[in-house]
Symmetry: D2
């Protein structure tokens, strides 16, 4: 069936494979009148581009985007925004020797079984390059959020056993891991290099915060803000867990510890004195900062010998060559941020019609 | 907007509030020809019914279901199945004194802000009674899964700090917590009663396993099996986290530890020698057991004094009376199971058209 | 699959069969704060109720509706509105002798082939009683439209060869055909009674006008206002054609005859000097009155002898007894009106997010 | 909101404007394993290409398509198929002098009001070039239908007052109007040239037949086959009416004339002795040929002087230059056919899960 569209009102449809001609996204339902340029999108694509540091793949892609429709005189027109990135550095040959093997930890086997055959070049649609479409969608969503004063920021919370101890947005930009703690980043670098030496890979946790959300965004009972953020995160290839606010830790707390009290602030607005909920109550934003985390597994492509089977049903031992990230966490940060922005933009649009009074405000002359 | 429908092909729409006349669900897209009776559904509803033990609310509801449409001569007809449960034991008065207060940890404030006013009786739509519709949907999904030999089982993995040390499906039925470990259940009982004495509440973790899944179920890239399970879980009121397979622990493993090797079994099928992935690769079932967990926060309704504000913006201290579970985990087990069954049933139907060969098999004469 | 939901933002899900326990609808996505009572809905249901005149079925149903959820203190809460009508006067026996025959012009054969078996009592889900859910949805939509000053009115344009020559809204209420022309209605009565004498049935055309629409409602390119009205109309059992504005006649006009000129009105707004377009340009409302027509086929249940086949593949001659309308046009008028109201309400909500400026108007403090 | 996607399971999302960089479509949900080449698509695009005869626009576009994703080793992979056509012959200057005027019969005014501003170049998204994406989607759908032995054929039924008197599929290819009657085509040519001389334009009716449909395709009650065909047709820019089988004529027939009798054929299958229904009963295919018609209005762009208003609210008289078809019917034939194929392909996929027995056939080993 068709699973390449995310969102109901702000809809992002992605397409493209690792070694196809191009990848891209069509964004439908974006309101008209928002300034949008290729630079706005390129800025985000550059953050996921490979080849930026020693811990990312050597594949060299400029990933230049081209806006093909939906923008006129620098502004969105309300019609579908189609954005494309051409593939250029495709080393299909790298995959030939293992092209008929199911790589452990990858989607080769499941793709083959589901569809009856598969594009074995670089994982095809299950490649990390598929996230280009997500980042395009996220960059467009960012423009909507910007108009409403909402800021979404993701960063690396931990690499393997190494966790950031502080939160400094400046330091995020200063180390190759996008960690808000340069000291932790240094320890992480050592940790990753040990894994590289052992022909191995590592995982980590990405945290994301959303500031400036109005209260009440999210659609009970199934399209709750946290439910859709969870879907958005788990839809990213390597993500294996999601939690919001206290998350799994909440299961060990008592109600009196986990509840956030309400008070009235000096400017007469309702505030919470703590934020154990992570900014969501009943599936709707509660006016506090939204805080969630996604767990990223270690890259499955490792150059150690691994046991597996071939499409024809024979067993084989393989070693994966090619250009792979020993850790995808740093490059996944912008993907987490993008999916969060798409989710929030969609729900912000959906929420507009929650009250009859809102609708009258638009139509009344 | 409209967020009360789950699923694309097997669609469950729930309706009803805590203190309204009734609650129910409409299931659309259920294949024709499946035997279905009210008993099939009642069996599941009874598992979430209140008043079953000392650790659940004293609200006394028989929660008898009535099938109103979609079944003829004992079988589903392919048309919408409408099922209703009447509310009977509604103590609206219990809520009057705090009716204008925003209860900490509840959705009162967010509902009020989103919709401009709210049904203050027992949480209205955000009440735990909303899950009746989910359990109805799950019971119908169970009939589809049963035809395909798929079994979904949820149970309590931990209560607060007390974790089950073994997995015995028999013992699940022998203790009030649905824990697969009677020893742990005893410890949990002590743990919960301490909280009750302190006018407090506790949370826990529910684990769910799915056996018998064919390979390749789940729709890349956004409607992945794990992505939709995550959405399904986080859409349940008190759930704050989701993980599959190694989950958050995967972030600390190396690739060589987390990858599952493929081998050929004695009956010539592809198997994995381990199951760190939790039964999902690339968002599709990989033929192994699916294993995921949901973190449940402690019940927000506690009878300690709490600080909060009123709808009119004044601060107040409240004590919540009424009939509340000091822990909702045991009653949420069947809700987790139901949402998992709905998710899996929907994706099983979606997957049928993945190959042209499948479609020809149906239409060829 | 699941085809019982209409609309994307204002979503109406209908359920129920002719001879089941009940029929109803769940309306999800209705904005909060709209006054709604059972009387509001009953008023519309009464217009489609059988037994109102000599030209409708003798089946005696009071069709009393019950609101089960979604309304609190007389206003919509933003949560799903569930409304039910119990069946009472079910003469299942009437169908026994032809229960295994495929009635000509009915959906018996196609239902049987699609689902493998069928509810043969009164057409099951394909009965005219299915429209109860549509009228419920329409009555709720009417409340939204009323808040925005939009009025939808359907009436009988023609019965067989007899066409209304004038448009008087008062006369609509004065004759049993809801024709805006009492003279024509008299001729129609004669026409219908001739058919009844011949054990036959007749069809007709229903016209619908929508006044007060704001400009720009409708979502290019597939969810255009006229495209969704067409879908809405053809989804009604007996409707075989749809046209808007000049409709089929436009195919015979020249561009200079069919184009509507724009001018500026005295109050400085843009107006069209004619309305050949029927109020829609490019799939969006153009500010003029929306005018469309639906062609209704003659009732297929006639008491003449007809040739057909049985489920077991044998040929048979049947005579249909039971209680059938010799013409369903008069009772279909409110169904056409209801589907139009649902369509327009949905698109009005969808349109709110067309401009970033609208969204800011809601969220800006 | 987002209205650029058609279909639920076989989903076609189109994008692009008349004078943007490119136009295209993303097809999601296409089953894997279907042979597909650019030639398969180009063949259909060539049928809608401008410049093919004296009665079409002189705009010279080669409309070469490029498949960007979703096909590997000549077969569909089950992942999204992205296809693009670059614009080349863009005479934006042609529009400058009337760029601020609302052209009569066009969507200029409604686009401007809905979105707050508009792409005035050649109609932007409301241009006939938007149909390129539809034809791409139709060409892919054609491959699915071909695997199932289903054939969809559209042709011109009438041009203005000139109607085809016979049906010869060969003659369709022999005249510039795609009329199945060369004599009528000659009369139509004369008719059109008279209009051209008068600086005017003409409309017509397109008929479409579908052969080989299995019984039971279409999803009651809202996603009926005829309801979705009606939506598909009315979503095409210039279409103002839709009818199936007897259509509007049915409103004048008696039940005994309009009903189709069932009989058993020599090969023991159920057949209808007539086909007044147009191949649809209860919204599902009934095994007969599906026959429907779409009414196309005369091209609104005419070179006569027309009255209109400017964006700034001033009245003006305009003459439309540029390159316009005096009749769009011949080029719309392939668009009608494409939309029909998309609709039917989508419903064929949806129908697969109607019976539990079908699903077991796929999953049972």
């Amino acid at each position: 069936m068709s699973g390449s569209t995310f969102g109901r009102q702000f809809r992002v449809t992605t397409w493209g494979e690792s070694h196809g001609k191009a990848l891209g996204a069509v964004i439908d339902g974006c309101p008209a009148g928002i300034p949008l340029t290729e630079e706005d999108i390129q800025k985000y694509l550059n953050r996921r581009r490979p080849g930026q540091s020693k811990v990312t793949t050597a594949r060299n892609e400029s990933d230049q985007c081209e806006i093909l429709s939906g923008v006129f005189e620098g502004k969105t027109t309300g019609t579908p925004i189609s954005v494309m990135v051409r593939n250029s550095d495709q080393h299909s040959k790298d995959y030939n020797d293992i092209s008929r093997a199911f790589r452990p930890g990858h989607a080769d086997y499941t793709f083959f079984e589901k569809y009856g055959f598969r594009d074995y070049r670089g994982g095809g649609r299950s490649s990390g390059r598929e996230t280009i479409g997500r980042v395009i969608g996220g960059a467009v969503a960012a423009k909507i959020l910007s108009e409403l004063g909402i800021v979404v920021s993701a960063y690396t919370k931990s690499i393997g056993e190494v966790e950031a101890e502080k939160y400094s947005i400046e330091e995020c930009a200063e180390n190759m891991f996008f960690m808000p703690d340069n000291e932790a980043a240094k320890a992480a670098e050592k940790y990753v290099h040990e894994a590289i030496s052992a022909k191995d890979s590592v995982g980590g946790v990405i945290e994301c915060i959303i500031d400036g959300m109005p209260v009440g965004v999210g659609e009970p009972v199934f399209d709750k803000l946290d439910a859709l953020l969870a879907k958005a995160m788990l839809s990213i290839g390597a993500v294996k867990g999601f939690e919001i606010g206290e998350g799994f830790h909440a299961a060990k707390l008592r109600g009196s510890e986990n509840n956030d009290m309400f008070r009235i602030s000096d400017d007469r607005s309702v505030i919470k004195t703590t934020n154990h909920s992570g900014g969501v109550l009943g599936g709707m934003s509660d006016g506090s900062q939204i805080v969630f985390r996604a767990a990223v597994k270690p890259t499955p492509s490792i150059s150690q010998i691994q046991q597996t089977v071939l499409e024809d049903g024979n067993e084989v031992d393989i070693t994966i060559h090619g250009r792979h990230d020993p850790i995808i966490v740093p490059r996944a940060v912008v993907v987490v941020e993008s999916m969060a922005m798409i989710t929030v933009a969609d729900l912000l649009l959906q929420n507009v019609t929650s009250q009859m009074g809102h609708i009258k405000k638009i139509y009344d002359k």
